[in-house]
Amino acid sequence: MSKIRTLWSRVKGQVAELRADEVFDEEVREHIALLEKRYEAQGMSAPEATRAARRQFGNVTVLKERQRAQRGILSPTEWWRDVRFGMRMLAKRPVSSAAVVLALALGIGLNSAVFTFVNALLLRPPQGVSGTNKLVEVWLHNPKAGGVEGYLPFNYPDYAYYRDHTKSLEGLIAFDGDGEDAIWNHAGTGEILHVQFASGNLFSLLRLNAVAGRTLSADDDRIDNPRQVVVLSYPFWKQKLGGDTGVIGKTLMLDGRAFMVVGVAPASFTGLMVGTDPDFWAPLTAMVRFRPDDQNRFTDRDSSWLIVAGKMRQAGGRAFKRRCRCWRSRPTSSTEARATFWTRWSTH
């Protein structure tokens, strides 16, 4: 647990840092303003005073960097590493700790501000996609747990249920919050690639068309018959495969298993999570082939590993709340998490 505690304190620290940055900005502005005033009082013109004040104060950007380093602020990479750790814990551990870890991964606080914070850091509106105002995040909610600890990512059985039974939503997307690394064997060498396992409807719901070939389909992602197919990211296709459309229909050896390339994603689309930038997408259920030892994540309701987004049929706040209530009616799992929490996808 000590690693979790470390993570917790770092997350708290991160929130505090964001505030510390703002406070420091304010202090610096005021200091420079006072210097300007002083130089003006000594007879300088306003622009002269501004220049002199800035010279006297020194380089603000450098100073800010130094302050951050001094405070031990995390770089985005480090922050992301922590979050990935949290997500991995979620996939592996039973809910008791999963709830705690999620709280850590999500940041602190007890209200929707938390989610805004998460949005800003982790989830971003998909690039080059229209209708993002219809996207909502969906979380499992255990009303008995207090605050943010009551919110969980989805487990697979509950996701599948909601995906198949939703009437008010056009559809429900899910993807692996952690992402996976896969070794690509080619021409006698191996290279580590990042794969995001995503539900088969990811591209169609986001109205994303393949640049070449096709995108993933719901048929690729059937739990009884997962297909070993991948959709390449545009940068990967361009940089590693020379933008050759001939790769469609060919196989890539990933972790020693053959996956067929079915298409290439649009150039602007880099996934829904900051910092992941997958090299390719594979059907959620194809995870079984990648992680044969971790199959219970498709049956275990205590295995919370899916980030879920819904697409509303129409944008609008009122409809959003009504649906929220009707979703509360189904007990979802042994974990007592029975309701869902929706929030708008970040639009900044």
């Binding site: 303003a33 210097l35 100073l63 130094r66």
Partner: protein, 114 residues
């Protein structure tokens, strides 16, 4: 750097800030910079921004505390004050400084032998 000006030695700024707060009571960053400027009579070449790095360091050690107040511009500003621990640290550092300064004086005063 202008002629006749000296750069602030690494580590000495913290001591200067601590002493300033000890002597003057709560001050904001601007006030501290002014006081140091005044005392140093223009000899020190101080990037005033670095005062804030010193303030952060001191605060992390628990040697100073801060709270919001109002600046001469009638705007919000953070005022720093020395804590009890800070006063003790100041005592220690002052002794240490005097010792080091004494040694430096003797070393620099060495006559050439032979």
């Amino acid at each position: 750097m202008g002629e006749g000006k000296s750069e602030v030695l690494q580590g000495t700024l913290d001591l200067m800030v601590l002493k300033t707060l000890y002597a003057m009571g709560p001050l904001h960053g601007f006030g501290i910079a002014r006081r140091i400027e005044q005392v140093s009579a223009g000899v020190l070449d101080l990037n005033e921004g670095t005062v804030y790095t010193a303030l952060l360091r001191l605060q992390q050690q628990g040697w100073i505390a801060s709270k919001w107040g109002t600046s001469e511009n009638n705007r919000r500003a953070r005022f720093y004050s020395i804590t009890k621990q800070g006063a003790k640290q100041l005592e220690r550092e002052t002794e240490n400084w005097e010792r080091v300064a004494g040694v430096m004086e003797r070393v620099l005063g060495l006559e050439r032998q032979g």
